[in-house]
C-alpha cells in the first residue's frame, strides 16, 4: 500500500486493542447510505516510476520559449543553493512553527526575513508573508480601512496591475469597500495628478501607489505620498522588492508629516511615528527566488509602520529569551489572528507561503545588498537597451517618455496578438499584450528584459519582432 506501512498482523493486533473486528467498524457512526461506492473516475494507482514517466511526458509538453514577458512575474536567476536548501526535509516538511522550541530553524529564518523586508522597504516591521502580491494588496486595503476607521473608499490608479485590481476587488468588495480608479497621464504612463487632485477633500482611506507601475514606469512617489497624507488618507506602497535595491524605499516616500493621528493602541508612541513614508508596503516576493512556475507558488509580503503593527494580518515572529535568558524566536502578537480572535481577527489567513519565504531569505542572503543592486541595475539596463533597439525598427516606438525600471511599453504598427503569435512561432515570448486591459493605447506591448538576457537574446528579440511586423 503506497505510503501506508501496516502489515496485516499490525492491523489485527490494532483492531484487537480497539475492540472491533474490522476497520470498517470504525466508520459505524457514518450513516450507511452515505458511504461512497468505488471512485470509478480514478484509475488504478501508479507507482513512482509510472508517475515519473507521466510527469516527464507532461513536462515535455510545456515548451519553454525565450521569455520577454514580465507584467508581474519576472524571470531572474535563482542561485542553485536556494532550492537545494529550501527543500531540505527539515524546512520542507515542517508545519507552522507553533512549538517554538522545536522550530527555531524556521522561526529564525522568518525573523531574518522580516528584517530584510523591513529594511528593503524602509518600513519598521514586516509580517511573515501573505498569499501573493495581489491578495496582499487586498489585505493592505482592508488594513487601511481598519486603521482609517471612517472611510471605506480606496483610490487605485489605473497604473496598478489589472490583475491586482481585479483580485483586490474580488476580495474587498464583500466588505463594501469601494475602489475608485484614478486615470493615468497618456504621455507619461503615470498617475494623472490633475485627475487625482479632484479627489482632494473627499473621504478616502488610502491611495495605492505602485512603484514601478504596471507599465514599468516610475511614479512620482513623493508627490503621491504627500498628496495622500495631506488629504487624510494612508499611502499604500505597491512595490517590486527587487527594484528596491535601487529605488527609494517606501518608508521614505514624501516629506509631509502625517496629518491625522494614526490609530495603533498600546504600542504607538511619538518616536515611532515617522514623519514621512508610505504607511503600508506590499507586493509580490516572486522576484526574490521564486521560479515562474506558470504563476505560483509566489508570496505576498507586507510591511508597515510600527504604529500599525497590530492591524497587520498574518504571522509575525518576535525575538525573546528563554528560561535561561538565551535568545530565541517565537510567533508573537497572535491575538490579532483567527485562531485566537476568531471573528474579530485582522484576517482569516492561517497558512501562508512559508517555504517561499525561506527561499527568499536564502536568496537575499546569497545576493547580499550589492548583488541585489547589480541584478536590479542589469535588469534595468537590459530593458533600456531592448527599448532602444526595438524603437530602431520602423513603426515601433517607446510609448511613454518616463523613467522605467525593467519593463517598458512599445507601440507597434500592427495588432499585438498577431505579432506575438508570429514571435512565438520563432521561439520568443514577445511580451504582454496591453490591448484588452488598456484599449485606449492601441497596439501596445509591455516588454521586459531582466538580467537573464544577453545581448544576443536582445538581438534575437528585435529580429523576430521585425520579422513579425514585416
Amino acid at each position: 500500500m503506497p505510503f501506508i506501512p501496516h502489515t496485516s498482523q499490525d492491523v489485527s493486533s490494532m483492531l484487537a486493542s480497539i475492540g472491533v473486528a474490522e476497520i470498517d467498524a470504525l466508520f459505524d457512526e457514518i450513516p450507511a447510505h452515505l458511504k461512497s461506492g468505488s471512485l470509478t473516475a480514478l484509475g488504478a494507482g501508479l507507482n513512482e516510476m509510472q508517475v515519473a514517466r507521466l510527469m516527464r511526458d507532461r513536462a515535455a509538453q510545456d515548451t519553454p520559449l525565450l521569455n520577454f514577458i514580465g507584467a508581474g512575474a519576472y524571470e531572474h536567476h535563482i542561485p542553485a543553493a536556494v532550492w537545494e536548501l529550501a527543500t531540505r526535509g527539515e524546512f520542507y516538511s515542517a508545519y507552522t512553527p507553533y512549538q517554538a522550541e522545536a522550530s527555531q530553524g524556521t522561526l529564525q529564518v522568518l525573523y531574518e526575513y522580516q528584517t530584510m523586508m523591513a529594511s528593503l522597504t524602509g518600513m519598521d516591521v514586516s509580517n511573515a508573508s501573505l498569499y501573493d502580491g495581489a491578495s496582499g494588496l487586498a489585505e493592505a486595503m482592508l488594513m487601511a480601512v481598519r486603521a482609517h476607521k471612517t472611510s471605506r473608499r480606496i483610490l487605485v490608479p489605473a497604473t496598478v496591475s489589472p490583475f491586482y485590481r481585479s483580485t483586490a476587488r474580488s476580495i474587498v468588495k464583500l466588505q463594501d469597500i469601494e475602489l475608485v480608479e484614478i486615470p493615468y497621464d497618456r504621455a507619461t504612463g503615470t498617475v494623472d495628478m490633475a485627475a487625482l487632485a479632484q479627489h482632494a477633500g473627499t473621504d478616502f482611506a488610502a491611495l495605492v501607489i505602485p512603484q514601478p507601475n504596471f507599465f514599468g514606469a516610475l511614479e512620482d512617489v513623493d508627490a503621491l505620498t504627500n498628496w495622500a497624507h495631506a488629504n487624510g488618507g494612508l499611502a499604500i506602497a505597491l512595490v517590486n522588492p527587487l527594484s528596491l535595491a535601487l529605488l527609494k524605499p517606501a518608508g521614505l516616500w514624501g516629506d509631509n508629516p502625517h496629518p491625522n493621528p494614526l490609530p495603533g493602541g498600546e504600542g504607538t508612541n511619538a518616536a515611532l511615528r515617522a514623519p514621512v513614508g508610505a504607511d503600508i508596503a506590499v507586493g509580490d516576493g516572486q522576484p526574490l527566488g521564486a521560479p515562474l512556475s506558470s504563476g505560483g507558488s509566489y508570496f505576498g509580503f507586507m510591511c508597515c509602520k510600527q504604529a500599525l503593527v497590530r492591524q497587520m494580518p498574518g504571522r509575525i515572529i518576535g525575538r525573546t529569551v528563554d528560561l535561561d535568558g538565551k535568545q530565541g524566536f517565537t510567533l508573537t502578537l497572535q491575538a490579532r489572528e483567527q485562531h485566537i480572535r476568531r471573528a474579530k481577527a485582522t484576517s482569516n489567513i492561517c497558512s501562508n507561503q512559508g517555504l517561499m519565504v525561506t527561499a527568499a531569505t536564502i536568496f537575499m542572503s546569497l545576493l547580499g545588498q550589492d548583488g541585489l543592486r547589480r541584478v536590479a541595475a542589469a535588469s534595468h539596463q537590459n530593458s533600456q537597451r531592448l527599448a532602444a533597439l526595438a524603437s530602431g525598427i520602423a513603426g515601433v516606438s517607446v510609448l511613454f517618455n518616463t523613467p522605467t525600471f525593467h519593463e517598458t511599453v512599445l507601440q507597434l504598427p500592427k495588432p499585438v496578438a498577431e505579432v506575438l503569435a508570429n514571435m512565438a512561432n520563432a521561439g520568443i515570448l514577445g511580451g504582454y499584450d496591453l490591448s484588452a486591459d488598456y484599449p485606449e493605447l492601441g497596439n501596445a506591448l509591455l516588454v521586459c528584459a531582466t538580467e537573464t538576457k544577453t545581448e544576443e537574446d536582445l538581438q534575437q528579440f528585435v529580429a523576430s519582432l521585425q520579422a513579425a511586423i514585416a
Binding site: 531540505r88 517554538a100 530584510m116 505560483g296 525575538r319 483567527q338 497558512s351 547589480r374
Partner: protein, 493 residues
C-alpha cells in the same frame, strides 16, 4: 547567530550577480541613498548558516509529528522532484496556453479527481490555502443569494467547535457570525441550530469530522434544517483525510467544500505554507467558481495541444466564460507548484489508495486513543469513535499533579516527538488534539505511547522535571509575554 552577524561590509558573493554594476538611468530623487540591510556573506557561509538552521526544526522527515487538525502525513519526495522538472518551473504565467499543455493537463486532471472524491459538480483549484478556500466558498454563497436577489441573508452560522478561520472568513465576506453550541457528544446542538436559522441565514459552515475528532452524526438533520431555511451548506474539508474514499461531502448534500491539499493530498507544509485550498461546488454554484478554471476542449488548431485524432487543448476559463464568477483570488493562478505535488500524489494513490487513506488514518487514531486511555489519559469523547484524530484532556492529570497539557507537550520534545496540537479546540480544557495520520507505523505509535506513559509517571513522581521541559532543544521555554510586550521584530545593526 543571525545571518547579519555573519556579514562583513564590502564582502561580495561574486558568483550570484553580474560582475559589473550597470548604468542606471533613473532620476536621483527616485533612487535610494542607503543600502538595505542585507547580509554580505560568502556563499559557503550562507549555505552553512541555513543548513545548520534547518537542523533546528522538527519535521515529518525527522520526527513523528501528530499535530491534530494538521494531517502531518508523509510528503512523498517524488512529488517534489517531479513538480520541479525544469519545464514546469520555467513557464511564465502569461505564456500562451499552447506552451503549457502539460501543466494544464495536470491541473485539469486534478480538478476531475477532486470532483470524484468530494462528489461535487465542479472544482476550482485557485484558492491558495484553506482559509482562502473558505473565502471562495462563502463568497460563492453570497454571490448565489445575490444573483437571486435574496439580499436579506446576512448571517453565517458557525458551530463553536469550528476552526478560527471559519468565523474570520464569514466576517471577511461581510457576514455576521452566529455561533451554535456543541452537545456533550461533540455533535452540533440541533435545537440551538433550529432556533438560530431564519431568513437571515445565508449558510452554515461545518467541519466534518469536526475539530473534536468526531463525525457529525446528525449530518442529514443539519442539512435539512439549513436548506429548509434557504441557506447553503459549507463543508470545511480540512479534515477530509478522515473520510477520503469513505463518504463524499457531495453525497451528504453540501453545496460547497474546500479541501486542504496540503493536508489530505500530502503536499508539504513548508514551515507554514504554501498550501492549496481547492473548492468544489454543487451544480447550482458552478457559475460562481473562482477564476481561472481549466477546461479541456477540442483542439482548435492542429499541431497544438495534445495531438493526434480527437486532439484536445486545455485552456483557462476566464470572465468571458464565467461572467458570474466571484473573480480572481490571486494575480495569476494560485499555488501551481502545490497543485502539481497534489496531483502526483493522487495519481500514485489511485482509486484503491484513496479508499485506504481514511481507513488507516482512522485505524491509527482509534488505536492510539485506546492505548493512551489504557495508560490513564482522559479521552474527551470516549463514547465516540475517533475519526482521524481525537482529544485527550489533561484536566484530571493537572488536577492530580499540576502538570498541564503544555507541560506534557514540552516534555514530549525531550522524548523526540513533536507534540499534538495544544489548547485547540478551546471547548475542551487542557486538551491535546492528536492526529497520527495513516503513514505512521504501529511501532511508531507504540513508542509514542511508551513516551506518554513515561511522562505520566514523571508527572506523578517528579512533576518539576516535567514543568522544566524541554531540556533537549536549542532553547528552553520561551518568554511569550516578553515577546508580545517588548516587540523585537527586526534585527538592528
Amino acid at each position: 547567530m543571525l545571518i547579519f552577524e555573519r556579514s562583513h561590509p564590502s564582502r561580495r558573493n561574486a558568483a550570484q550577480a553580474p560582475q559589473a554594476m550597470a548604468a542606471v538611468n533613473i532620476p536621483a530623487a527616485l533612487l535610494r541613498k542607503t543600502a538595505p540591510l542585507l547580509p554580505e556573506a560568502s556563499e559557503m557561509d550562507v549555505v552553512r548558516h541555513y543548513t545548520n538552521l534547518s537542523q533546528k526544526n522538527f519535521s515529518i522527515d525527522t520526527h513523528f509529528y501528530p499535530l491534530g487538525s494538521c494531517t502531518m502525513k508523509y510528503n512523498p519526495r517524488a512529488c517534489n522532484t517531479l513538480a520541479m522538472l525544469p519545464n514546469f518551473l520555467a513557464r511564465h504565467p502569461l505564456a500562451p496556453a499552447h506552451t503549457g499543455q502539460g501543466v494544464l493537463a495536470c491541473l485539469y486532471d486534478l480538478q476531475e479527481i477532486l470532483k470524484e472524491v468530494t462528489g461535487m459538480a465542479g472544482v476550482s483549484l485557485m484558492p491558495m490555502a484553506g482559509a482562502q478556500g473558505e473565502f471562495a466558498g462563502i463568497a460563492m454563497i453570497q454571490a448565489y443569494h445575490a444573483s437571486r436577489g435574496d439580499t436579506a441573508r446576512t448571517e453565517i452560522i458557525v458551530p463553536d467547535a469550528a476552526h478560527g478561520t471559519n468565523p474570520a472568513t464569514a466576517v471577511m465576506c461581510g457576514y455576521k457570525v452566529r455561533e451554535i453550541p456543541t452537545n456533550a457528544d461533540g455533535d452540533v446542538d440541533l435545537d440551538a441550530l433550529r432556533a438560530a436559522v431564519g431568513p437571515q441565514t445565508a449558510g452554515l459552515m461545518l467541519t466534518n469530522p469536526s475539530t473534536l475528532g468526531v463525525f457529525e452524526t446528525h449530518i442529514e438533520d443539519i442539512k435539512h434544517i439549513i436548506h429548509d431555511a434557504g441557506g447553503l451548506l459549507y463543508y470545511d474539508g480540512a479534515n477530509l483525510n478522515a473520510i477520503l474514499g469513505k463518504v463524499k461531502p457531495g453525497d451528504m448534500g453540501f453545496d460547497v467544500i474546500h479541501s486542504n491539499l496540503h493536508k489530505t493530498f500530502a503536499t508539504p507544509h513548508g514551515g507554514g505554507g504554501p498550501g492549496a485550498g481547492a473548492v468544489g461546488v454543487a451544480a447550482r454554484l458552478l457559475p460562481f467558481l473562482p477564476l481561472p478554471v481549466v477546461a479541456k476542449l477540442p483542439s482548435p488548431t492542429s499541431g497544438r495541444g495534445v495531438g493526434g485524432e480527437g486532439a484536445v487543448e486545455y485552456r483557462y476559463l476566464t470572465e468571458a466564460d464565467l461572467p458570474l464568477s466571484i473573480g480572481h483570488l490571486s494575480a495569476f493562478t494560485g499555488n501551481i507548484g502545490v497543485l502539481l505535488r497534489a496531483y502526483i500524489y493522487a495519481k500514485m494513490l489511485g482509486a484503491d489508495g484513496m479508499h485506504r487513506v481514511a481507513e488507516f488514518a482512522t485505524l491509527n487514531a482509534n488505536y492510539l486513543m485506546a492505548e493512551l486511555q489504557k495508560v490513564g489519559y482522559r479521552i474527551a469523547f470516549p463514547q465516540r469513535r475517533a475519526s482521524h484524530e481525537f482529544i485527550v484532556s489533561c484536566k484530571p492529570l493537572k488536577d492530580a499533579t499540576g502538570i498541564s497539557a503544555m507541560d506534557v507537550a514540552k516534555r514530549l520534545l525531550d522524548k523526540g516527538y513533536h507534540p499534538p496540537t495544544t489548547y485547540f479546540p478551546m471547548l475542551v480544557p487542557e486538551c491535546l488534539l492528536i492526529e497520527p495520520t495513516e503513514t505512521e507505523s504501529k511501532e511508531t505509535l507504540d513508542a509514542f505511547v511508551a513516551a506518554m506513559k513515561e511522562i505520566w509517571d514523571e508527572a506523578h513522581a517528579t512533576p518539576d522535571l516535567v514543568k522544566g521541559a524541554p531540556y533537549s532543544q536549542p532553547v528552553r521555554r520561551l518568554d511569550d509575554v516578553k515577546a508580545a510586550r517588548e516587540l523585537d521584530l527586526t534585527w538592528k545593526a
